[in-house]
């Protein structure tokens, strides 16, 4: 049942990412809704489920891209592992949640854009300040909205039950 829910949620997020998110583009910078869902799943269900979900979602997103196939999968997998690695009892503290969301998102964007800039003339600092950080911060804004609207989605509830 949970798998069906995840399939529906990821399908919806991918459709919204491809149809609606481009409307929020600011100078080519867009938030990553699929990434927010991957982190949420890693929070709630742990890193193993998060890694699996991130891999599959990345494959689908890469299918709609003209870039290298597998970049989103790799970035999602590493991000989900980081997001799901924190102890469940820490997840309730807002400061910890913010730090965890930021680190997971930053890892995703660093890996993703590092691969995309291989072979280009863009320097690492240029990519960091002009691409990685703007994408990370924009995604964090949407993540904060999602966290305020659906705090339980980031509550780590399923992991707490499992650890008892």
């Amino acid at each position: 049942m949970l798998i069906i829910l995840y399939v529906v949620l990821f399908t919806l997020s991918i459709v919204v990412q491809l149809k609606v998110v481009p409307l929020f583009s600011v100078a080519g910078i867009t938030p990553n809704l699929v990434l927010i869902l991957v982190i949420s799943v890693a929070f709630r269900a742990g890193k193993i489920v998060g890694v699996g979900a991130g891999f599959v979602a990345g494959v689908v997103i890469d299918a709609f891209s003209s870039g290298l196939f597998g970049i989103s999968s790799l970035a999602n997998v590493l991000c989900a592992f980081v997001a799901g690695s924190w102890p469940p009892e820490q997840i309730r503290r807002p400061a910890v949640v913010s730090g965890q969301l930021l680190s997971a998102t930053l890892i995703h964007d660093l890996v993703y854009f590092w691969f995309l800039t291989i072979g280009t003339s863009f320097g690492p600092w240029h990519v960091l300040f002009n691409t990685v950080l703007p994408h990370t911060l924009y995604t964090m804004v949407f993540m904060a909205i999602a966290y305020m609207m659906l705090p339980k989605a980031f509550a780590g509830k399923a992991r707490e039950y499992r650890s008892i």
Partner: protein, 264 residues
């Protein structure tokens, strides 16, 4: 013993398997199996995207709009050809004859999805092999060149936009016939690269496709020169070009039905 080790560290094992699988996918991006996987995912999710897009459109207004855009694009192409003809006429009037360009056939397509990530910019179109679309066919709008077909499924296609880091097209300044290679620079700007120093290029010049390409027809509008700089030490000029296509408002495009020599 080994089984216990794997069970104890199953999170690390799954991470390792996923990372290795991702790397295998990355390093075999051009394999035929990966193209098949891409096409399958495109076909499966394309249906959903298409349905969502269908809800958005109002059929009468849409049909009329498509017809008008079709006319507009045809007029744009005719205009481009006429401009080209005028320039060619002045340059080649001593010649007895020259070949007239063939009429380009356009296939209208709706944009049902957009993947924008700073370096990689692509759109999903609701046309595919069933509509005679092939890889590397040119994508145009009424304003000019938008990109080319990158991946094609039976009913959907992915187009690589002019603003994609991997996109290249042979281009020239329409007035002076100075040639170069058009590629993405940053944001919504492209550059005409490999233009030798002291070439005749000024701000405001119109840039068009050369026609020497095996993919793109000649004379299609790409953009206007907005900045020209001569690098003191380099051999080439830096020619910044603003594309004429507004990529933030791509809703309908046209695929030029010309079989590229490099199609798959």
């Amino acid at each position: 013993m080994v089984r216990e080790w794997f069970v104890d560290r199953k999170d690390l094992v799954i991470l390792l398997v996923s990372v290795v699988s991702s790397l295998v996918l990355i390093f075999s991006s051009d394999d035929s199996q990966i193209h098949f996987l891409r096409a399958w995912a495109l076909g499966s999710f394309g249906v959903i995207l298409d349905e969502v897009t269908s809800v958005e459109k109002y059929s009468d207004v849409y049909e009329q709009n498509v017809w008008l855009r079709d006319q507009n694009a045809s007029l744009m192409l005719e205009n481009s050809r006429l401009k080209e003809a005028a320039v060619e006429n002045a340059r080649l009037r001593s010649l007895l004859s020259f070949k007239t360009k063939s009429q380009l056939q356009l296939i209208p397509a709706r944009v049902v999805g957009m993947n924008e990530s700073g370096f990689i910019n692509s759109i999903v179109l609701d046309v595919g092999k069933a509509d005679s679309i092939a890889v590397n066919m040119t994508i145009v709008t009424a304003q000019g060149v938008a990109g080319k077909v990158y991946q094609v499924d039976e009913h959907f296609a992915i187009a690589q936009l002019l603003l994609d880091r991997n996109f290249r097209v042979g281009a020239m300044v329409q007035r002076s016939r100075t040639m170069g290679i058009m590629r993405w620079a940053t944001g919504s700007q492209v550059v005409l690269a490999a233009v030798p120093k002291r070439s005749d290029v000024v701000v405001g010049d119109s840039v068009v496709t050369t026609g020497l390409s095996t993919i793109f027809p000649g004379g299609l509008q790409i953009g206007r020169v907005v900045e020209v700089n001569e690098d003191e030490q380099g051999m080439f000029m830096n020619v910044a070009v603003q594309p004429t296509v507004d990529f933030s408002k791509l809703e309908e495009v046209f695929v030029v039905k010309m079989q590229p020599l490099l199609s798959e």
